[in-house]
Symmetry: D2
């Protein structure tokens, strides 16, 4: 079960599809194995950057079931939905399948501090004993949550165990949260997203690890492991991956890039993105392949 | 089945809940009867202004089933969802239960004309032969659709039969669409929403009726029936309802106001709005009750 | 000078243009006289709903100068701008010309409570001793300000004297603010906008008057004067104006409607709206004229 | 004068302030010299990422005057404003001071293709013979402009000479525009922004250069010069700068980071950002300084 001390690398997993758009359940198995073999210590499914919104309720359930059956790593399930009933129903399915916890992002309509606090308190009440992750992703949700508001939520919702940090810019927020903890606030697990763009600095600021879907979990494994013990080496590794991280972080493109790489690496059978979704041009694919080739050369030279 | 000539009064129905937030299926029966007795010629369920987003998939299905079993009026089912799979699944349930068609609003992320056209073409492809309504509601969705873009969608998607018009300001749009039709575009059914605030002018501009949830379907029945034949009398009736229409149109409040009135009129057993939702103060309730009392006096005096 | 007890009817004045789009300074004189003769007790210029954004800095100055020279009513000048320097420069011009105070709306980028409080504290610091009005208009700005945040701003910024209230829905906010005052908060002047749509209820909730640009200041004069002393008569008057109030409140259309009526009533020479702006169709103009005719008949019958 | 073939490196210049927030005109001279000496072939002032919005009209004029007096490089002046009168006034000042052209971003309210086309046609009409740059920056403006809409604007507005490209993701847009040109559309100058994050790929796709404010114009000089002739070397240089480019691209932080570096490099006397603006923590400054140190080491090793 997820708790306040959870650390490591939770990869946000893609949902694999067949060329005709149907769920590719076999690829879930190979993908989960791939992640385990390349550095993941946990798995997050049905997140914002996945294609959770494109699945029917029955398909979401099939994904949860298949992933949970394949791995003994802790599994976090994204359950963000417009209403609490859907959140409750999906969470029940997740926990019944052995999930370690669920993850909730705020609806885009929230604005004031009070609205944000009330919403997450309702979520906590709805989830009962289920441990949950607060996903703080203003670039996508438009909802800005200050460290003080987070503290109020953490203080009043003991089942909230982790912050998925992807505010941007967000480095000062990590520092502010750890400072609040030094002054008496509850200790929280902080895993960082945003495609890994700031993972080196995030670890230096006090994060507990990464939760993002960059197609090389090795990067997250190495940076979380080495930043504090061998920062110069960690920087060398990080910089070798950075040109591709940057390319993958283009809004609306990340998923297609990621699936192309996962297919190329053998993790999934097809790079299919469900409609409506981006179809990459040959030029784009050549750019990605050139970045990968160069990345491999740089990593070998370290 | 819904077609391009459908006219009349489709009331957007509320979803009734028990005081503890559970679905109140018995009230669905009384509510559907109430609408039939007060002027509705059709029923729209699971729309934006209802609480569709707050239902789990199983609850949505239960609502469809109960409404369809109770009435022989045509039923339109709102199926807007973040992904096409969910749209497809909910539409199949709707049509299997005898719905007359489904209704789809655009996702909030659409911006350019091409994105809007492509999205609805994908929807049409996904829905197959199911007749559908395009819900044009920029105040809520942020998506602005010009008459020319609508024409392209209507021309390329023959299963689209109706526009739920709630652009605001939108009177000129009705005129533009009817002018396009006079110049050769396909004839479409246009039913108007926006709480009925402009129903008199909308009917004068060429609308075929109303599709909104104002708690007095009698108003929509009378205005759609009388505007063209007895405009002076229609205006008197409209003006008598207008103070309450205005009050109900306050964003984020309409549903609570509406349920209070429906409960007061005996259509549903409880005015409960599911969390997170507005709880009205005593002052607000007194304001509504005063408006109702005055409305009744003015109507009796006509 | 504006203070915490200011009450009455501040009309938001239009900026008159000649048919070629140039400033029509002569019409400023006739318009100011018209407002004084139809019930205004104050004047607000260069507001959001005016065309302040379409004026160059030199033109804004010319408008301030002309209005101030024509009237002895208190004049409030809208000075919202992307930066504090522009706010400071325009405020200095306003106060040098004898304005009673200035009005500031929040920039659209503000989100958290702390950002909102900090911004208005910076504004107060920038304005020095100048009395100012906080314009709370979320429909336009997207910034939502709770009663508690307003209280913090009012407590820490003694030069803030008035709230221009146009939250929507906003009736409960007036009650919350007056309740806070009963519990010890500083007394503030509250004038209400939103085109006058809720003026009757706003006065009942404790507002001090109106600040909006409805083309019949007589309505605002009568409702502010009569709501508490003769509510039944106030309601009759309000209801007679409501169909036109409703029509004028269509977003993006209000200004054109208003200028058409002001020109028709002889307050300004031309109904010109500066480009880019709405040009109303003949059908729209006929709808407005029909509403005016009917309004006059109803008012005469009272 | 700006034309359709303009290429090179236009740096977006910061506006220097004294510690008390007043304009630092002397630093304008040193900064302009610095840019000329580090690779700029042109200068862009008063852009979105500068602090144009924080200047009064008089201050904007002073900046234009000082920059124009100091350099013989072409100067482009950002003139985006809420209204055409302000655009016209600022453009006149710019051209009177010898500017090479002006730059206009769309207002945030534009949505449909027709609205976007009409707006820029009005801008072109307002500017008369002045050559202008269309700034396409959806991350900031929320306005999405397709290649087809751009083509219509370019075709109907011959005084539009350049696209400041900062769509994101935007690589395919460059290819689409160059393909349209190969099929007969007017040739346009395309300079790329977005902090330089994709400059290597942008040059490969057919861009004519860079227009952004990264504090090392040397990077833009080298990448625009070498990408097509010596791509392997260009990539090495680009990758050495990328960790800092990434850090500078954090939204809301870029300006403070940039001014810190410009002050450190002696280009301006003070890193002051005008209020309301970010004050960087010591931790942040240490992170930047570490990135600079590492960048210098990597560049020396090339």
């Amino acid at each position: 079960m997820l708790d306040e001390t959870t650390s490591g690398v939770f990869t946000i997993v893609a949902t694999p599809f067949l060329p005709d758009g149907a769920l590719d359940l076999d690829s879930i198995d190979t993908m989960v194995d791939f992640y385990a073999n390349t550095g993941a210590t946990g798995i997050t499914i049905l997140g914002i950057m996945g294609e959770a919104g494109k699945l029917s309720a029955a398909e979401s359930e099939a994904v949860i079931h298949r992933v949970a059956a394949r791995t003994r790593m802790p599994v976090i399930v994204g359950v963000s939905a417009p209403g609490l009933s859907a959140i409750q129903a999906l969470s029940a399915t997740a926990m019944d399948n052995g999930a370690a916890g669920v993850m909730v992002a705020p609806p885009k309509t929230l604005r004031t501090d009070d609205q944000i606090i009330s919403y997450f308190q309702l979520v906590a009440e709805t989830l009962g004993p289920t441990p949950w992750v607060l996903q703080d992703f203003p670039l996508d949700t438009g909802v800005q949550i200050t460290p003080r508001v987070l503290r109020t939520i953490f203080d009043t919702c003991p089942t909230c165990k982790m912050l998925k940090h992807e505010d941007w810019p967000g480095l000062e927020k990590i520092t502010a949260l750890r400072t609040q903890e030094a002054e008496g606030a509850r200790r929280m697990s902080i895993l960082c997203g945003n495609g890994g763009q700031f993972l080196f600095e995030e670890m230096q600021r006090g994060a507990d690890g990464a939760m993002t879907g960059f197609a090389y979990p090795e990067m997250m494994r190495d940076i979380t492991a080495l930043t504090l013990t061998d920062p110069a080496h960690a920087r060398d590794i990080f910089d070798a991956y950075l040109p591709l991280i940057r390319y993958e972080c283009q809004p609306g493109m990340g998923l297609a890039v990621r699936k192309h790489i996962l297919a190329k690496r053998g993790a999934i059978a097809h790079a299919t993105v469900r409609k409506p979704g981006l179809v990459m041009s040959d030029t784009t694919i050549r750019e990605i392949d050139a970045l990968i080739e160069r990345q491999e050369a740089r990593l070998s030279a370290l």
